[in-house]
């Protein structure tokens, strides 16, 4: 859906197309009140049509091959210095560190949206057994590349930031680079796989 809206950016005066978790923010402009109302009506109808009937409405239904092209594999070193909170997650879930690594890297995750930090992807698809409430006291800094679990979500930190999520591993993959042609590695709709490259549990 965002591809189609993207293609109509100019025509519809769309300034921002921001997917959220099951919602969509559109920022648009127009030259007068009448045009704004018309655009709001057209876009609302289009989006609702997508939501009620995604397959028929989509002009760009992904084939399996395309889906594969949008699958990004992220190598992760789990546990030890790379994942200081793996034991905390283990204590909370009652699962061994090995099981947590196995289940976390077995999942196929969907990028719902980006936000919080440039290139930070909100991923859906964490095994519910791995869900762990956030730390009572946030860490002053979560290093860039940290793979973490917070509540029922998992994410990779593109840059260092304070935060309350549990760090279970680290990747060398650069999630965001302002100087890159395509600065954000992950985009809404992409599929993410984590592959364990080693662990020091």
């Amino acid at each position: 859906m965002t591809e189609e809206l993207e293609a109509r950016r100019e025509e519809m005066g769309l300034l921002e197309i921001v997917p959220g978790m099951g919602n969509l923010l559109l920022r648009l402009t127009a030259s007068n009140a009448h045009q704004i109302q018309t655009r709001i009506d057209v876009l609302t109808a289009r989006v609702l049509n997508f939501w009620s009937n995604p397959e028929a409405a989509s002009s760009s239904a992904l084939t399996t091959a395309e889906q594969l092209r949008h699958t990004i594999t992220i190598p992760v070193t789990y546990g030890g210095e790379a994942g200081p909170d793996l034991q905390t997650v283990s204590a909370h879930t009652g699962l061994s560190a090995e099981t947590i690594i196995e289940r976390h890297s077995a999942g196929l995750y969907r990028v719902f949206c980006l936000g919080f930090l440039p290139g930070f992807a909100y991923l859906g698809g964490l095994d519910p057994a791995l869900a762990t409430p956030r730390r009572a006291t946030p860490r002053l800094s979560i290093p860039a590349g940290s793979v973490a679990i917070g509540g029922s979500q998992t994410a990779v930190y593109p840059s260092a930031t304070p935060g309350g999520w549990h760090i279970i591993g680290r990747t060398d993959t650069t999630l965001f680079d302002a100087a890159r042609q395509r600065p954000a590695l992950l985009l809404p709709g992409d599929t993410v796989r984590f592959v364990a490259t080693g662990s020091t549990t």
Partner: protein, 322 residues
């Protein structure tokens, strides 16, 4: 080159900001007061969105290594510059262009309104690299501007090629008078607040907290309450959105706010009033006034026409007001 010889906290390089990238988690950044940005640039014959300095706390002193025309706008500072052949420094008037000579120092000593933002433009604009369509500093993500950070003494600012604009003394652009009344539309979660809280939101003065910054204005007052606890999925947010975290004290999102949020939104400040967020310092109060969408659109159209008129005038005329 212009060298910064003295620099208070939080002077940053800003232009008209990054747009169309919120889906990547990239904030808007840019001058909090886009009108002052355009005024200062137009006085110098710059493109309206050229990069300038945004100054919120002084003092600031700059040493010029070449002749350069400058203009100050927004909430002005007491400012003066030395000239090689005069014993007494010359005042820099707000909303007027002036030429600073090579070797001279320009000093912005005292803000007329502490905590409000002042803009200082240079002929040719500040020529730092363009990152994702803008020269603005993104302080949170650490890119844009000069190394993605606030400026400090010792930094050197390159300026771009200046147009052959003639600086006319005695002519200027009158700064707009900021008000403490912010017009707003009810937000997507307005109905989730109690009736009492809805009334309170529009009626009480909200004091600007000292924890306010370019990400948002934190407000103090009687806390707002929801009818029932609300678990919202994360959704895109925009500058001007008024979020209410669990403590019930609203935050007005500003240019550096993150792109996605999960707190209930009681209102959104209309686009035409966003520039005023730059000029309400901590300790002062704001009121929110409800308006209809039609009025918000009309206010924006008036503002666009004003800016259009400013930019169409080849030479800055005598004091244009809104």
């Amino acid at each position: 080159m212009i060298e910064i010889t003295r620099c208070g906290a939080l002077t940053t390089i800003q232009d008209s900001g990054r747009h169309g990238l919120r889906h990547l988690g990239i904030s808007q950044s840019g001058a909090l007061d886009p009108i002052a940005l355009q005024q200062a640039n137009l006085l110098l014959g710059n493109a309206p969105g050229a990069a300038v300095l945004e100054i919120s706390l002084g003092p600031l002193a700059l040493r010029f290594e070449q002749d350069c025309a400058v203009a100050m706008s927004g909430s002005s500072f007491a400012a003066s510059h030395s000239t090689p052949d005069a014993a007494v420094d010359t005042r820099l008037l707000p909303g007027h262009a002036a030429i600073i000579r090579s070797g001279a120092t320009l000093t912005l000593s005292k803000p007329l309104v502490p905590g409000a933002r002042c803009y200082l433009a240079f002929a040719g604009g500040i020529d730092v690299p363009v990152v994702m369509g803008s020269r603005s500093t993104d302080l949170n993500a650490g890119f844009g501007g000069l190394q993605g950070r606030a400026l400090q003494a010792g930094d050197r600012l390159p300026t771009g090629p200046s147009s052959q604009h003639q600086v006319e003394s005695g002519k200027g652009i009158r700064p707009l008078a900021p008000s403490h009344i912010l017009r707003a539309l009810p937000g997507p979660d307005y109905e989730s607040f109690t009736t009492d809280s809805q009334i309170l939101f529009w009626s009480q003065p909200w004091r600007i907290s000292h924890q306010s910054n370019r990400m948002g204005l934190r407000l103090n007052g009687s806390a707002l309450q929801l009818e029932a606890p609300l678990e919202l999925p994360s959704a895109g947010v925009l500058p001007g959105d008024v979020q209410v975290p669990p403590d019930g004290l609203p935050i007005v999102l500003a240019n550096d706010a993150q792109t996605i949020g999960g707190y209930p939104r009681i209102a959104s400040v209309i686009h035409a009033d966003l520039w005023q967020l730059a000029h309400v310092p901590p300790g002062t109060s704001v009121y929110f006034v409800p308006v209809a969408l039609e009025e918000a659109i009309a206010a924006r159209e008036r503002q666009e026409r004003y800016l259009q008129r400013l930019s169409e005038l080849s030479a800055p005329p005598d004091c244009i007001g809104q």
